[in-house]
Amino acid sequence: MLVASALLSGLGLGSMYGLLALGFYVTHAVSHTVNFAQGSTMMLGAVVCFTVWVTFGLPLTLAVIVALAACTVWGALVERVAVRPFVARGSDAWLIATVALGIVIDNVILFTFGKDPRGMPPGILTTGSVTVAGIKIQYLQALIPVVGLLLAAGLHLSFQRSRYGKALLAVVQNKDAARLMGIDVERVIVAAFAVSGLLAGVAGILVAPLFTISSTMGTLFGIKAFAVAILGGIESAWGVVLAGLIYGVAEALIIAVLGSNYSQIVTFALVILALAVRPRGLFARAEVKKV
């Protein structure tokens, strides 16, 4: 019973980790850079959605659209401001620059949104529930993994089928050759960061009703998502999503068995252990190293 509900919430959280981690995967694939402040982007999505919906009293659909647009623009902005100038000069400082930009947006939200954590008002998704085999399942809990997997599948399909997706795959394979073929590599990279921001926004909006909304809600989430991306081997989309589900379930089980005090110690120790056993992620193939 306890385990079953832990599994359920673990699947939900895990697919959110998977979504955020997909954002890491997309940008890493095209540019070998990531937005380390992915958690802040997620927080931005939740905060904007809350502000437009609750504070301004506008319809929820509009709020979601505005929040997702804000996250997408923010993702592209991060690439322009914190990643490109450093990559262009062959520096690794984008790593710290994205972290810094994340801290900046965290504090901007802290000043404008306020210190107090707030909860999303109850809606049909959180109040309504179905009971399956004696376990009460909120609609939202059922919805989160579905949306997560659908988005992952949609991303996969659009990579394989659409023109832009193919350009992106070309850049992944060989940046120089793609450039010679007339693909605007810089634009593809910006697009990848925008998609990464969009995914973070979706995760933020979906997660917001489960937790409270505050300027610091994203930090730990972002780090866990990076752990998931790394465990999934950051080079395969399905590996990343699967690793997200595994991480979420493992974390929920640890909390159910050991209590929440030790959950972070144990999960992060497990991350180190998993990396020690499988240095290129859980689902990695043999390493090819070019000299």
Partner: protein, 381 residues
Amino acid sequence: MSWRALLSAAVAVAGVCLLIARGDGYQCYIIALVGLTAIVGIGLNILLGLSGQISLGHVAFYAIGAYTVGVLTANLNWSFWLALPLAGVFAGLAGIVLAIPVLRVRGPYLAMATIAFGFVVQQGAAEWKGLTGGWNGLMNIPAPRLFAFEFDVREIALLVLGLTILALVCFARLSASPWGKAMRAVRDAEVASLSIGPAPNAAPSAKTREWVFSQRSSRSCMPRERQRPRATGVESTPTSRSPCGCSTNFRPTAFANPRPRQSESTAVHPVAQQSAGFPSITYRKGMFAVKAMIAPVDDRIAHPRGIDGWRAGLSVHQCANQSFQIASSPPKTETRNVARSSVSLARSSVGVPRNCSPHLSVVKSSAVTALLFQYKPRGNH
């Protein structure tokens, strides 16, 4: 170090001393904080700057050191002067423990492993309430005493200044030592530096990485002689032709071996050995190649990023002079010239025709490596 650098360093130290002497408590506190951050940064630089290993959980070692001093002085009434070096030792031991699992990963995977370590230490400190006081932390840590004299914030700032200078000097010594060179070789081209090792199983490069991990946070001890490679007893095989067509003894182990992990046992330490005067010409070529790779990357890390940029031209210039003995007309201004000349030197040493020039807008270490492995040497060695 030139007299000019010494002079400016002395002026800077005197200036800081003056600031500490004249400043109020808060200013001294800020100066001390700057110094402490600098010490942590210097430790991190051994790992990131010299060895190219990313660590995002570095602050965990800071925490381990701080808790060691706190617990020893507040709970056990030890002397601060005994606790201070012990803190370094404990942080170093933690580095060794961390190195055992994270030796196996690199790049973003290493970054994640170190983040996870930082979290484990943070949460561990928060949950181990009996020892660390949980989220409240340790209180009433006594100020350091020297005989009957109790240190105030001003004296602590002076102490931090002294430790910062010590850390800087130790870092400079380490960086110039054979071990520093070995670390840079690992940073620039791990596989290449593995593959030039003439003596398998002599000193694993994994050892170097481990050593770096354990070394980075103990600030005062710099055991330069420890694990120093043997000066003799290494047989080179200059005549054996390797599959990639080089008659230099670039060993193809890293390529032939499907599991690069195993070839880690062929060592990076030959780089360290060049100071011991190893005779083989072919071996020196390997050294040369590694140095050629070091110089441009020095330029790369020093210049576009950060405060160090303004003196990058000077330092790279010096480095090139020492490494290659470019006696005639050393390039004066541009660091890129140095990089270019080092590549051309590397090229001429392995006999690459002049007309096949790599794209030199950004000189990459990998470009040099590719050159070295791609072309046959001209002479018969």
